[in-house]
């Protein structure tokens, strides 16, 4: 019966556009003729901390505006002085995408900003939307230094309009065509005709600050657990070189951050700011695993920390857990904060000169001197860049910290936490030979050797594994910089997993959902540093609670991994009645949204609309008069039959 009905409805609707073709095209077809939907756009979204909101949101039904290209100063002046057909949607070139320009749009009738990048042109020399001192308010001291000279703080603004990004030249051509055809000519009389317009939909459910939106979300949990925002965070990854036994007195932590940040959804490459460090850390860990270091009283723990760009979520949670004695991600004994003697962080790395930022380390510290000599690095004592070690120093200001980075007092990365911080920015491509893999491998091996000589004093490590590490780095880099569908990630996944053929965004995201880059990195570390049991099949492997992975030949291999995850959720969301405004821990939340999308259409001129209403009223009144006249005089006009 239902089926018959369906057919009936179907035929009826199909007939609708058969009868009176004039006005009865099917609704879908009509809409297709009116709207051009964009694909492959990225949207700016909203985030909160304990006191403020950041980012962008459209209006609930979508923000609409007339397209206006801004390529130079004149275009902005025209907008400020002569524009008549507002609100406008600004289509902006990358070199105009600055704080100063965007601030000017706040004062005029602008409903949205579409940033575009013509990929065939040169990229801007610098673009970093982060602060000049990243994580300014969550360091162990007040930040007075300008670490990130190109930092524009665009990320730390609450924009009154939505923002989107495209780099598809074909789409851009369509927008430009329409703009040139409809909007440009006779600009002073724009308000008299229909104009090419854009609609941006990126409505954000959350508002005000983290506290308000979390409270609002949980208030009616009994009926409908409506969420307005989610705490940000993900998973930290840890691997101890040796088991945490009672003999272990000292622990050296080797850390790196696992996340990057950027303004637009899904475009968070973090090549120069994060990937090089992740790769070097993985290589160092693998190298130490290969050297088979024996651990007696000093252990080494490798940690990849997540959410570090959002006020050190991962490291502050790690330190909090260590302090509370809750850190049990390592097999064996619980690790305590007091046990940690020093923290070595891999900061932004790359080819070229290296710097060692040390704090609380004596000049004759053997590790420091070895690294200084072997890496030919400059030592900056009493220097702490805005990286994860800040969280350790915040809790214990006398802890020894060392940050290995490619920068001195200012970043050399011109695209720090921006969407342009990709493979091209660090001049990397798997097709051409660069010094990047060998530079990173050199750091990994030098650091590995130095750590080995601390745990195994007196004995020399084998040196023949150097080429293996360089090969590993060469294989690791494309996984993060070119496509996740690579040998190593495939090997570290379950057999048959189809990985996305794209660069994985390194954005932390919300605690509720794990970032694929985090999971893959964790599993990869497990594979690289674990023990494989070729004799076990899938069933017996899972019975022993080991990991079943595809392995290098993709047929499946059983791995006993000692690497483990720990939650990277800020203590602010764990401590009961935490004062969100205290600023002690990261309070970042991300707003929930329903959809992100953009479409182009012709916005009708006011004149035509008013004309149609005028005709309608006129015709109706005229008809009323005629009907009334004829009805009143029907007996006179019509002859009785």
């Amino acid at each position: 019966m239902y089926k018959a009905n369906g057919l009936l409805v179907w035929t009826l609707t199909r007939m609708r556009h058969v009868i009176y073709k004039s006005s009865s095209r099917s609704a879908q077809k009509l809409r297709d003729m009116m709207y051009y939907d964009f694909h492959g756009t990225a949207a700016c979204f909203r985030r909160h901390n304990g006191t403020h909101q950041f980012g962008c949101s459209s209006s609930r039904s979508g923000s609409v505006g007339v397209i206006h290209f801004v390529e130079n100063e004149d275009d902005i002046v025209w907008l400020e002085k002569n524009a008549t057909a507002g609100p406008y949607m600004i289509v902006l070139t990358f070199d105009m995408f600055t704080m100063k320009t965007l601030k000017r749009f706040e004062d005029v009738d602008v409903n949205g900003v579409l940033l575009y990048r013509n990929t065939s042109l040169d990229r801007p020399t610098s673009y970093s939307p982060d602060d000049s001192c990243p994580n300014r308010y969550s360091g162990y001291t007040t930040c007075n230094e300008s670490w990130n000279p190109h930092g524009s703080s665009l990320l730390l603004q609450d924009w009154p309009f939505p923002m989107f990004y495209i780099e598809d030249n074909e789409v851009l051509e369509k927008v430009k065509d329409c703009y040139l055809r409809m909007n440009v000519h006779d600009r002073e009389k724009q308000n008299e005709r229909s104009l090419c317009a854009l609609e941006m939909k990126s409505f954000m459910f959350a508002a005000l600050n983290s506290e308000a939106c979390l409270k609002r979300g949980s208030s009616n949990i009994l009926y409908h657990p409506t969420l307005f925002c989610d705490p940000m965070g993900d998973q930290n990854i840890h691997w101890p070189v040796g088991p945490m036994s009672d003999d272990v007195k000292n622990v050296i932590m080797v850390i790196a951050k696992l996340d990057a940040n950027a303004m637009y959804d899904n475009l968070v490459p973090g090549a120069g700011s994060t990937v090089t460090a992740i790769v070097t850390l993985l290589a160092t860990a693998t190298y130490l695993h290969m050297l088979n270091a024996t651990i007696s009283d000093t252990n080494i723990v490798f940690s990849l920390l997540n959410g570090e760009t959002m006020d050190y979520i991962g490291s502050s949670r790690l330190v909090y857990d260590l302090k509370e004695g809750n850190f049990d991600a390592l097999k064996g004994k619980t690790l305590k904060l007091e046990q940690i003697s020093s923290v070595i962080e891999l900061g932004q790395l790359g080819e070229g000169k290296l710097y060692l930022h040390s704090k609380n380390m004596k000049d004759d510290n053997p590790l420091l001197t070895t690294l200084k000599n072997e890496l030919k690095a400059d030592v900056l004592s009493n220097s702490v860049p805005p990286v994860s070690v800040q969280s350790f120093l915040k809790e214990n200001s006398s802890i020894e910290t060392l940050v290995i980075a490619n920068h001195g007092k200012t970043f050399v990365n011109n695209y720090y936490n921006g969407l342009l911080d990709d493979a091209k920015a660090i001049n990397y491509s798997s097709n051409k030979t660069t010094n990047l893999p060998s530079s990173l491998a050199n750091i990994a091996i030098t650091l590995g050797n130095a750590l080995y000589s601390i745990t195994n004093p007196g004995s020399k490590p084998l040196t023949e594994d150097i080429t293996l590490i360089e090969k590993l780095v060469t294989e690791l880099l494309p996984c993060y910089l070119e496509s996740a569908r690579c040998t190593l990630f495939s090997a570290a996944s379950r057999p048959g997993t189809i990985l996305p053929n794209q660069v994985l965004p390194l954005y932390t995201g919300v605690v509720r959902s794990d970032n694929p880059a985090t999971i893959l990195t964790g599993q990869l570390l497990g594979l690289l540093t674990g023990t494989t049991y070729p004799e076990l099949n899938q069933t017996s492997c899972l019975e022993k609670h080991f990991l079943w992975m595809a392995g290098y030949n993709l047929t499946g291999v059983c791995v006993e991994a000692t690497a483990n995850f720990s939650q990277a959720k800020s203590p602010a969301f764990i401590i009961e009645n935490y004062d969100m405004k205290s600023g002690k821990y990261s309070t970042w939340t991300e707003s929930v949204w329903e959809n992100l999308g953009m479409r182009m259409f012709l916005k009708p001129s006011y004149k035509v609309e008013v004309l149609s209403l005028g005709i309608g009223i006129g015709v109706s009144l005229f008809t009323a008069l005629i009907v009334w006249l004829i009805k009143a005089n029907a007996d006179r006009i019509f002859e009785r039959r």
Binding site: L12, I19, K21, M34, Y36, L602, V610, S612
Partner: protein, 238 residues
């Protein structure tokens, strides 16, 4: 478009019919019943013609074939409605205070109007929903006057149906075969003309349709024994 655009389109297409309904139909219950019956008849005709169109597979791809079916079935159902109405006259007499046999002309008007309203609703509904905006026609093809033209055409079709109803019933009463052919023929002609609108001959289409409307006003007026001098007097407020 926007709220204004929507209000404009809706008032062009359905403003006059609504006022006609208010002044000439809503005043008597039996007329409302007739209106609903005739609107239902039109829906039935649509159903049958769509089933036919669906059943005859080889002709399905031609849009004008479907159009021809629909005109034929609409006129067939108009004829059926006439037959039923004339048979039901005695019964209707019992349930109403109005003099049914005296208001035959009014009933033919109501029946035509019911056909018109239903076809108008069907052809205009999705256009109206799109007229809310935010966009208008003309990005890829078409012109920005599409909505006004569509509304104008819908209004014209509603009016034409009303007039055809009057002419058709009167012609059947008087066995005037020429007028019956005229109604079916002009219905067919008008429907085919609307195909031009899709080809963006908006002006041609709308002028032809309104010319047909004027001719049909004259025909219907004549068929229902209207007297021109008296009409002129009334229109001159004499």
């Amino acid at each position: 478009m926007s709220g204004i655009g929507f209000a404009g389109c809706a008032s062009i297409a359905f403003g006059p019919p609504f006022l006609m309904f208010l002044f000439s139909i809503a005043i008597e219950p039996i007329r409302i019943i007739m209106l609903i019956a005739s609107a239902f008849c039109w829906l039935l005709s649509l159903l049958i013609s769509s089933l036919t169109w669906y059943a005859i597979v080889p002709l399905r791809k031609y849009i004008f074939i479907g159009l021809i079916y629909s005109v034929i079935f609409q006129e067939l159902f108009r004829f059926l409605l006439y037959k039923i109405l004339r048979r039901a006259e005695k019964g209707l007499e019992k349930v109403t205070t109005a003099q049914v046999s005296d208001s035959r002309d009014v009933f033919s008007y109501v029946c035509g109007f019911g056909f018109g309203i239903m076809s108008g609703v069907f052809s205009m509904s999705n256009v109206l929903s799109e007229s809310f905006g935010p966009g208008t026609m003309g990005l890829k093809s078409g012109s920005e006057y599409f909505f006004i033209v569509s509304a104008g055409i819908t209004l014209c079709i509603i009016m034409l149906h009303t007039l055809w109803g009057i002419t058709f019933f009167a012609a059947l009463d008087n066995k005037n075969w020429f007028l019956i052919v005229w109604v079916v023929g002009s219905h067919m002609f008008v429907s085919l003309i609307t195909l031009l609108n899709a080809e963006e001959y908006h002006a041609t289409c709308i002028f032809t349709l309104y010319a047909m409307l004027l001719i049909n006003v004259a025909v219907a007026f004549n068929a229902s024994n209207g007297r021109v001098p008296q009409l002129m007097d009334v229109l001159m407020f004499k």
